[in-house]
Each structure stands twice: as C-alpha cells, then as structure tokens.
C-alpha cells in the first residue's frame, strides 16, 4: 500500500481533469459529487496507508516513492518523488478528510451558482496541490504544491471575479505570497549550494551529522520562515488573509483556515533538524513573531462585525499560536493544534457559511441575532466549535492550546503571558460572536440605520448536505483532544507517532517548573477561558456594562490602510519615475544620438575626416541593403 501513495494526489487531480473536460456536462450537482468522490477516495487510501504504517516498526515508517526524474542536471538531481512518513500521513489524513467534508458541504452551498463545476475543478486542483505540498519528498516538490495552492487560492478568492473587491483580494493574496516565496526560493538555493541536494532526507541528515554549518542552517531556517510568514499569514505579511474572505465560504474554511495556511507550520516542522542546529535566536524570532501575531490578530477580532472577518483574524491569531509552538521547540504541539484547529475552525467557517446561506448573503453580525431558534443544528454545532476554540475542556482546542502554553512557559514566561492574554481575548471575541449571531434579539429586518431598503428576509436552516459535515466536524471538535492527552505518557499518541520525525529537536521540558506544575497551568487556562467567556456574556449578553469596540481595532490598527497608502503613493510614484526615466532619459539618449549622428554624418561627408572608415562601413552596409531591397522589390512587386 505504501508504494501506492501516488494515488492520493492523483485522484483529486483526476477529478479536476474530469471536471475540466466534462464539468459542464455533469452540471450541478453532479460535478460536485465527482469532485467529492475523488477527494473521498484519496482519504480512503490515506487511511489504508495509515493503518499499514501503524503495523510497521517506528523506524520503518518512512517510504520514498520516486515517480520520475524531474530535474536531472549534473550535481542537481531532483526527483518527482513522494514521501510517506508519520508527519506527511498525519497531514494527508486531515487534509483529505476535511477536504471531503467541505466538498460535500459545497455541493449544497454552491448550488445554483453559474460556475458550479468550475468551482469544484478548482477545489480538486487545490487538494491535489496541497497533497503535493505535504507529500513532497524534497523542497521542490513541496514548492510545486506550495505555489499550486497559491494559484488555486488566487482562483478561488477571485471566484466571483466580476466583483472588484474579489478580484483585488485574489491578486493581493498571490503577490503577498510571492514575497514569501522569495524566501523559500533563496532557501532552496542555499540548501543546494551547501548540501548539494533539495531532498528533505539529505538536508536533515546534513543537519544531524553536522555537515551543515549553524550559520547556513540559520539562514535557511529564517528564509523558509519568510515563506511561512507569507503562506501562514504572520506579521508582517498576514495582510492578504482577511481580504481572502472574498472567496466563497467553503474556500475560506478549507484553504484559508484548515489546510493551506498551515503549510508554513508544516514546512518548519519538516525542516526541524535545520532549525534545531540554528543559532539560538532563530527559534526565538519565530516564537516572538508567532506570539505577536497571535495577540495582534486577537485584538482586531474583538471589534469586527463581519461574521467571516472575526474568524479570519481568529485564524491569523491561532496560526500565531502554532508558530509560538514551533519557536518553543514544541513541534508535536504545533501539529496537534494544527489538526484540532482544522477541525473546529472548519466547523466555525462552515457554520458561518450556513448562517450566510440562511441569511441570504448577509454577513454583518449586527443584522443577526437569535438564529439558534431558526437554525438549530447550525447553532448547536457552532456552539461546539466555539467551546473548542475558546479553550473549554474537554473540547479539542483546550488540550492543544494547553500543550503549546506549557512548552511556551518553559521557554519564556513572558511569551506565556502573551499567550494567555491571547487565550483570554479568544474566549472573549468568540463568545461575542456567538451571542451576536445566535442569541439576543433577532435583528434581521432592522433597517433603522440602513441607506438602501432591503426586502425582509426569513432565515432558514441549511440543507442536509451542508449539515452532515457540520455534525461530523463537531464530533471531531469534541473528541480531537484524545490524540494527545496530558495525563500520562501513554496517552501521548501523537507524540509517539511523530517521534521519528521530530524526536531530536523536540524541546525537553521534563525538568522545568512548568512541567512539574502542569496541572496548575491547566487550571489557569480554564480560569482564563471562563473569564473571557463571562466578560463577553456580561457585556454582550446581559449588557451589564457598555462594550467598547475601538475604531482603531475595527480598522486593524490601520496597518493595511498604511501599507495601501504607501504602495499607492510613494510606491507608485517610484515605479512611475522608473517608467519616465526609461521613456525620457534612456530612450531619450538613444533618439538624441540618432539625431546627432544624422547631423555629423552630413558634415563628415563634406570634410572627409577620420570618421571615414566607419562611415564607409556604414555606406557599404547600406549599399548591400539597398541592393537587397531593389532585388527583392523587383522580385516581389
């Protein structure tokens, strides 16, 4: 079975090709079923591979499948090869699993869209690219997937491309990601020039054996982190992700919450031996950027009114948590949180999609309220997602967040404080969202402060095809924590599973104060979560105090606006200046020289100076051409 891993990405690719050729014929909803089956098939095969791997000894759980030689060129030999190992299979499992659910959901959500089959074509293409990313045996195959998911993300963000905001957001996502890709590319150049290979095995082996110098390792790790900041929306490159919400909601759930945006975390984990031998400040940089992003995005989320924007900033914040884990040497915790986050954030996004669907494309939470009554299943599952992300035990998010915080405490109590404050804010803004959407008074038809009058709307529950994925994801959001429970070493399933991949680099915290008092920290985390929830209930539910939503937070600290101003102002001016110089100076000189030669040529002819030879040369060339011209003219005309 292991040698059949190429089937995992091939199925979604086949689905995409099928929908490219026959999509219009399949139509709505059949093309959606084709795509769902392709992804579901990939999931099944991944499960089979997983079980086969489970039967093997831990050291034998690595299998490289070379499909063909991709770039064979002298010292550079890059194979188109896939790698099945504990890490890639964990990734493939949750990517295919969640993709299948979201495909299913999208059949309902996208029903009636004019480009229904195209949507599923892109979605399948995305899954293919994502699987290449996680299953790649070397940096280049991963990069193929990395850019592929970027392109699909671009197609899907601007899916409704007649809307200018969607078109702009798509472009912004692609270009911002490209800035990160600069880092990934230069990291590859550096890896090749120092190790002579792009394969993970070879690079990580060089890191183990000491062949790779710390200074080079640091540079590679930091450059890859630049790429990770782009793809995984960290400061200062996160800008594109909130705008990416222009895409249809299944896209936000799949690409911009559960899978693609975690690529950076995956890449850093994949290269953990390199990061491990880097200078000590390198992981600290990652931890600090992660913590800063987590806190920063959480502060913004508390003042958003668009149901999807809250979740988008929340995603940025949670990704920050994962990088905080990576920087603290908690690779297992990072992957753990990546998976649980995929469960509950996909659930929340799909839930918000169900709300948007039921509310006839209303996304403003100020126009919602009391929806749990008309959308009971959506409301129920959303509440589970909320408890999971808020960090309430025993839901999945609690365990993974707590595991991260434990390692962070061991690394730096200061970063722990940032983490715990973020956790408080998370509980707060998610509670705020749940109250605004599902509780309180119904504000659906409140037009008091609206300029254009809309017809009254009657929210309705979504069709079954959309509700089933919600139910499955809520089960996962409840039970997901069981992968890795803190009570006994035996319950550290994920840690044992990933051990062969991260063993050497995983921070050892057994002797730290944090570890010895882990139940105290656990308790503190519960207290913090409950506090956040209670404050929000007091403010939004019971109106015990007047809530403040500072304008600056609503406008995301004006960062995006400032960047836009710089790009449109000085940036555009500088570019225009280059363009002007080209037209007027570089080309101006050329035309000037042309003019003056004409003048000089005239005088030379009279004085017969030393230019004679050059001149004669030009004459003879000219003569040849004139001759040719007459000859050809005679022939042709």
């Amino acid at each position: 079975m292991l040698s059949l891993i190429w089937l995992i990405p091939l199925l979604p690719l086949a689905g995409a090709v099928l929908n490219l050729v026959l999509g219009r014929k399949f139509g709505d909803p059949r093309s959606g079923w084709v795509a769902t089956l392709a992804t579901g098939g990939a999931f099944l095969i991944t499960v089979l591979v997983y079980f086969e791997m489970l039967g093997l000894e831990a050291e034998e759980r690595t299998h490289v499948e070379v499909l063909f030689s991709w770039l064979p060129l002298g010292s550079l030999q890059v194979d188109f090869a896939l790698l099945a190992d504990p890490l890639s299979i964990v990734m493939a499992l949750f990517v295919t699993g969640i993709s299948t659910l979201i495909h299913l959901y999208a059949i309902g959500y996208m029903h009636g869209d004019a480009k229904f089959s195209k949507f599923f074509l892109y979605l399948n293409l995305f899954v293919f690219s994502m699987l290449m990313l996680v299953l790649g045996e070397n940096l280049l195959v991963t990069f193929l997937g990395w850019e592929g998911v970027g392109a699909c993300s671009y197609f899907l963000i601007s899916f409704w491309h007649t809307r200018d905001s969607a078109a702009v957001a798509g472009k912004k996502a692609f270009v911002t990601n490209r800035i990160g890709d600069f880092g990934v590319m230069t990291a590859m150049f550096l890896a090749f020039s120092s190790v002579g290979s792009l394969s993970y095995g070879a690079i990580n082996e060089a890191a183990h054996s000491g062949e790779l110098a710390s200074v080079t390792a640091t540079a590679i790790a930091m450059l890859l982190f630049v790429g990770a900041c782009g793809k995984s929306a960290q400061l200062p490159l996160y800008l594109w992700l909130p705008d990416a919400m222009e895409g249809p909601t299944p896209v936000s759930a799949l690409i911009h919450a559960a899978t693609m945006v975690t690529s950076g975390v995956f890449l850093m984990t994949r290269m953990n031996p390199v990061l491990h031998i880097s200078f000590e400040w390198a992981p600290t940089v990652i931890a600090v950027v992660g913590a800063a992003t987590a806190l920063y995005a959480a502060t913004i989320a508390v003042a958003q009114n668009d149901i999807k924007k809250v979740l988008a900033y929340s995603t940025v914040s949670q990704l920050g948590f994962m990088f905080l884990a990576i920087g603290s040497g908690a690779y297992v915790a990072a992957i753990f949180h990546m998976v649980t986050h995929a469960f509950f954030k996909a659930l929340l996004f799909l839930g918000s999609g169900s709300v948007i669907h039921g509310m006839h494309h209303q996304q403003d939470m100020r126009r919602m309220g009391a929806l749990r009554k008309v959308m009971p299943i959506t409301g129920f599952t959303f509440i589970i997602g909320w408890l999971a992300i808020a960090g309430v035990p025993p839901f999945a998010g609690f365990w993974s967040k707590d595991e991260i915080l434990l390692y962070v405490f061991a690394k730096s109590p200061a970063l722990y404080v940032v983490g715990i404050v973020t956790a408080l804010l998370t509980a707060y803004y998610m509670t705020r969202q749940v109250i605004m959407v599902f509780y309180g008074e119904a504000r659906w038809n409140d037009h008091s402060d609206e300029h254009g009058a809309h017809g009254d709307i009657t929210p309705h529950e979504s069709p079954r095809v959309m509700l089933i994925p919600l139910l499955v994801l809520s089960v996962l959001s409840i039970l997901g924590g069981a992968m890795q429970l803190p009570f006994s070493k035996k319950l550290h399933f994920l840690e044992h599973w990933l051990a062969p991949v991260v063993e050497e680099s995983e921070a050892y915290i057994g002797k730290t104060w944090a570890y010895q008092n882990k139940y105290l920290l656990l308790l503190l985390a519960v207290v913090v979560a409950v506090t956040g929830i209670l404050i929000a209930i007091a403010g939004y539910g019971k109106a015990r105090f007047k809530v403040v939503e500072p304008k600056i937070l609503e406008q995301a600290w004006n960062y995006d606006a400032t960047v836009s101003r710089v790009v449109a102002g000085p940036g555009a001016t500088a570019f225009n200046l280059v363009s002007w110089i080209d037209a007027n100076i570089v080309d101006g000189i050329v035309n000037g020289v042309g003019e003056s030669i004409r003048g000089i040529a005239g005088s030379v002819r009279r004085v017969q100076s030393g230019f004679v030879r050059t001149y004669a040369l030009l004459i003879s060339l000219g003569a040849v051409l004139v001759l040719a011209w007459f000859l050809l003219r005679g022939v042709l005309l």
Partner: protein, 502 residues
Amino acid sequence: MIAASTEVLSFPILSALVILPLVGAIVVSLLGKTRPEWMKLAAMTSSVATGAFSLWLLGEFKTGEAGFQFVSQHVWISQWGISWHLGVDGISLFLVVLTGILFPLVIVGIDPHHNETSYFAWMLLLQAGVMGSFLALDLFLFFVMFEIVLVPMYFLIGGWGYDQRVYAAMKFFLYTMTGSAFMLVGIIATVSLARRDLGIVTFDLIKIAEGANFSTNAARWLFVSFAIAFAVKVPLFPFHTWLPDAHTQAPTGGSVILAGVLLKMGTYGFLRFGIYLFPEAAMWARPTLFTLAVIGIIYGAIAATMQRDLKRLVAYSSVAHLGFIVLGTFALSSQAVTGAVMQMVNHGVSTGALFLLVGMIYERRHTREIAELRGIQHVAPIFAGVFTVVMLSSIGLPGLNGFVGEFLILIGSFGAARWWTVVATVGVVLAALYLLWAYQRVFHGEPDEANASFKEITAKEGMLMAVFVAIIVFTGIYPKPMLERIEPSVNSFIEHVEGKTK
C-alpha cells in the same frame, strides 16, 4: 564542442532547414502575381515542411552527445576561408525546433489582412535567416544570416504594423544594425588576428575557438565588439529601448517571432560566439553583464508594471525575462547555462503565446489600452483560461515551463553570482505583480458595454493556442527529454571555457 559527429545523414537536413523557407519565399513572390490562390498554399507548405524537418531533426538527434551533429560543410569563398558550415548541438537544437514550429503556426494562424504575398515572402525569408543564424558555424555565414534577419523584420514592422510603425521599424533597424557594425569589425579583426596562430585565413568558428590564442587585451576588445551587437539584440539594459517600440508597433506575427526567436539570437550569440571565442574576456566582463542583466530584470519588471498598453507591458516583461537568461549564460554552471538555453525556448513559447493572445484581443476590440478593457473573463471564460495558463507560465509557476528554466538559472547562478541572484529572485515577485495586476484590470470586473460582446475564442484560435499550452504543461512537468539533450553540449562548453581560463 570540437568533435563533430562522424555520423552523417545522407540527407543534408540542416541546409534544407535554411534553404526550404528561402525557396518558399521566392516561390511565394513569383506566385503572388500569377497564381495568388496558390500563393498562400505555397507559403504554408514550405513553412510546415520546414517545421516537419525540424521535428525530424529532433527525432534523429543523438541524445548524450556533446558535439555538433548533422554537420554540413561546403567551401563557399575559398581564398577567404569562408564556408557554408552548419551544425547543430544541444545548445542550438531546441532553438532550431522552436524556429521550425513557430513560423508555420504564425503563418497558418495569423491573417496579415493586406498585401499577403509580400507578407508571407518576408516571413519565409525571416525564417531562413533565423535558422541560418542558429545553425551557422562560420563567422561570415553567421554575420550574413544575422543581418538578413533585419531586412524582413524591418518590412514586416513597417508594412503591417500600427500607427507608429515607420518610426519603430527605423529605430529597430538602425539600432540593431549599429550593433552589428561593431560585430563586423570584430569578426574581421578576429579572423586577421587568428591568422597568426592558425597560419591560414579562416572564418570557421570551431577552428578559431580551439586554435587561436589571442592576447588578453585583444580578446577583451574583440569580446566587447561582439557583446555590443548581442546586447542590443537581446536586448540588455540600457540598450533595450528599441524593443517596446518595435513590439508595440509590429503586427502580431512579427511580435511573436521577434519575442519568440529573434531576441534569442542575442543570447545564443553570447554563448556560441562571445564566450566560446573569448572565454577569458567573458569572465572578465562577467560582473558587468551580471549587473546589467539584473538591472534589466528589476527595471523591466517595474517598467512593465506601469505600462498602459498591454503589448508594451509584455515587451517590457521580455526585457526582464531575457535578463534571467543573460544571468544564467554568464554564470557558467551546468544548471545555469542549461537553464538559460531552456529559458530561451520557454520564453519564446510563453511570450509568443502572450503576444498571440494580445493580438486576438486587438482583433476584437481594436485597442490594447488596459484601461479600455474590462471583465473579459465573464464573457469569454475559455479565452481567459488560456490566458491564465500562459500568464502563469510567464510568472514561473512550478509545473509549467517557465519555472524550469528560471529555477535552473537561479539555482545554478547562486554559486557564481550569489548577490546578483538574490536580487534577480526579487524579479520573480515582480513578475506576479505586473501580470496579475494587468489580468485583474483586463479580465476581472463587470464587463462594460464595449467589452460585453467580446467574442469567445474561435476553433482556429483554440487549436493554435492548444499547441502552446501543450508545450507549456509538458515541459513544466517532464523537462527531462530537453535537459538530457541540452546538458552534454553545455558541459563540454563549460569545460572548454574552464580549460581556456585556467
């Protein structure tokens, strides 16, 4: 590079590749008056036959061999040691094939609208000249071919171009001819200096490159004289300003050929003549050329971003792309040079396709102004889809052809030109910026009245573009067949350079 293949095909295929289109040009011009209805058929036949021969050549080409194959050598002017000396190796093979394929596509696929006879005759003459340039192993023959190319291109721009065509054609002609004048002086000086070492007067490239021993100083001067001609042709910053004018004013077919193969005569010339003849001088000039190449990459991309005319935008993108090729050419590692050769072909395919698509937009809307276009994807989704694939190839998306060349160039140049390469990589970011921004303005949004009737791609256009898309995807996923044909020649080329510079 020395050892010419002993295996000789009984049929002089290389000579046929040059002569066939030439004969076609003559037949076309003769038929034009007497049998106009057969004229187009003759044009198509000769270009398609040339294309078929080039594919046959590809099939017969011996993989893994470094030397010249199918060599054809006949004395032309014996007292000057000039001969009709043609040969193909891994470096020129795919350029020859590209020339073979691109011309019939243009001739069959694009309607010149008026004066068909002379249009087709010029096109075929152009094909002969380009073929000759890529095949010539004799300095004199190369020069003649290199110059012949100017004449048809001049008339194609001047005769079938747009509003400013006369200015653009004249500028193209004078600028590139001035460059060539330096090369002519260089060639004559090279031959006369080489005579001292060789004892004979010969224009034979291989004899001079392997046997002559120029003084350092002389070699540098000679290299510069060749380099000027090639730098203008490429074009390398700051000699590029003829290109946007020529491209914008040229008819679609002219632009496709110009970008597709003509510019490659410059980068190919650097490899085949500049570096091969004067390795030490080339190493000496390397930092300058790296710098100009990298400036071109960034500068071309920035200028492209701000263009209002879609065709001008693509033209500036060529300046950027050709910068990558020059960088790789002079980095002189196996990966970089192979990547550069590959990118010469890839750029020809992607940018050729882009010019075709822009031409189709012009045919429909009679404008190339980005501001006048809007929402085309909504009314012509298949056209937009094809444009997207070509655009992503030009941006260098992995899995498509553009990436392979660009990546090999960059990873291969990183060793010899680290910081230049890092700056060049910024160009990859900018490529996404200018193309996606243009795409957004032209294809996205709600189409206004003028664009609402934009016609979807026709069957003929679709078939034409399918060829390009197929090459784009195949090369991106499976470049091995190309790489293994290019690499041996590149390696022996690098050995030659290293041997001479030790």
